[in-house]
Amino acid sequence: MTVTIMPARTITQAPLSYRKSVDWLRDPQLAALRGAFTRSMSLSDERGFDYWAGLHGLPLPMYCEHHTELFLPWHRAYLYFFELTLKDLDRTVSLPWWDWTSPLAHEWGLPSAYTDVGGDNPLTGGAIGPLARSQGNSQRPAPAHTFRQPDDPWRLPRGDSIEWILDLGDFLDFSQQIEQVHDDVHIWIGGTVADVPYAAYDPIFWAHHSMIDRLWRLWQLRHPTAGMPSSLLRKALRPFPITVADTVSTTTLGYDYSVFSSRTILNGQ
């Protein structure tokens, strides 16, 4: 019997990258993620983790947008640009999302990919840079390294508490409610993740925010004509060189969300 392998079609359009559930990452994907974080953390310039973590909180200025209409667009831009710096180090890497509503999370809490201490796992935490620490030394000494104090796993948000939020038809209503869930999880993780100035120095921050960004994406799919107030669209998302309008579509930014993805590369494409 002769087996004929048909050549793959030439890809003429750049494929999207897919952010995957951290619970479903295969070993090579997790190894690549850890490798990229390790290398990013070794860079002390504007390509590195320390610089990007600092944009959210300390050192000043603290650019993050909380409790405003820009909460979702600003953090989408933030993840997008940081993820590009990881891709500079390893093209296969995307930021995974941590589903804190899953049965696994409600039994064990934080995902093991971010808590396993073997092999110098960079996802367990990060150093807080000297400039951030010097500015943070006010009433309490600033920590040199992130730490977590997670609450009981059953206190994490439940799936049914997210479903009704995804059903909301108005963008600002959705944004307000999902930000409250976002705040809940920051405080649930505790430690430096509960502190705006230091939160992004912990790699779990990025997995949590990928989940929030994914929920916005799911909301957009559920309400394709809902949009957002036109007055928001032209607002700048400092310090990033884009506006809110640029963040509306994830696929225009080159990514989407899946639970699990695998890819077979044929003919070097």
């Binding site: 000043l60 909380h66 409790h67 309490r140 920590p143 104090q149 409250q180 976002h182 505790g190 705006v196």
Partner: protein
């Protein structure tokens, strides 16, 4: 920590008059450590240890991811208004925020039981972090006003 307590007028008990009820907290100060707020109806002695069940008057909770502290020079965290009509700078980061606690079930329950007003107790809880411990004297919840809005 001293809870915030106040009375809130309830809507008339007209069946089907609303399908959603929001308790909206306006003007919340978020300049300090992160905190949770637990809201109870008609439970004036409630504390952070009170079981969060409807039988105890529990309505719901919300969290506020706080700015942490002021890390700049003097005046850095003073909320400034626009200095001219042409001031295109974004609003100050510490403009007080709003939290919307969706409380449809509780409001239905209390209006159906004939309550024309309820006594609200809002208890603040702070979890340990780099900027706070559970006993942090961050002060009571600072909020300008609270409103109940229902929607049909």
């Amino acid at each position: 920590m001293t809870p915030v307590e106040f009375d809130l007028e309830m809507p008339p008990a007209v069946e089907g008059s609303f399908h959603r009820a929001d308790i909206t907290f306006y003007g919340i100060d978020h300049g300090g450590p992160s905190f949770r707020v637990h809201v109870f109806f008609n439970a004036p002695g409630a504390t952070v240890e009170t079981p969060r069940t409807p039988d105890e008057g529990y309505v719901g909770s919300f969290s506020v991811f706080g700015h942490g502290d002021c890390f700049g020079d003097e005046g850095h965290c003073d909320v400034r208004d626009p200095v001219t009509a042409f001031d295109r700078r974004p609003p100050h980061q510490l403009v007080p925020t709003t939290r919307v606690l969706v409380a449809t079930e509780a409001v239905h329950q209390y209006t159906a039981a004939g309550h024309r007003s309820v006594h609200v107790t809002a208890i603040t809880e702070v979890r340990p972090s780099a900027l706070a411990d559970a006993d942090s004297a961050v002060g009571e919840l600072s909020v300008n006003q609270v409103a109940l809005h229902t929607y049909s």
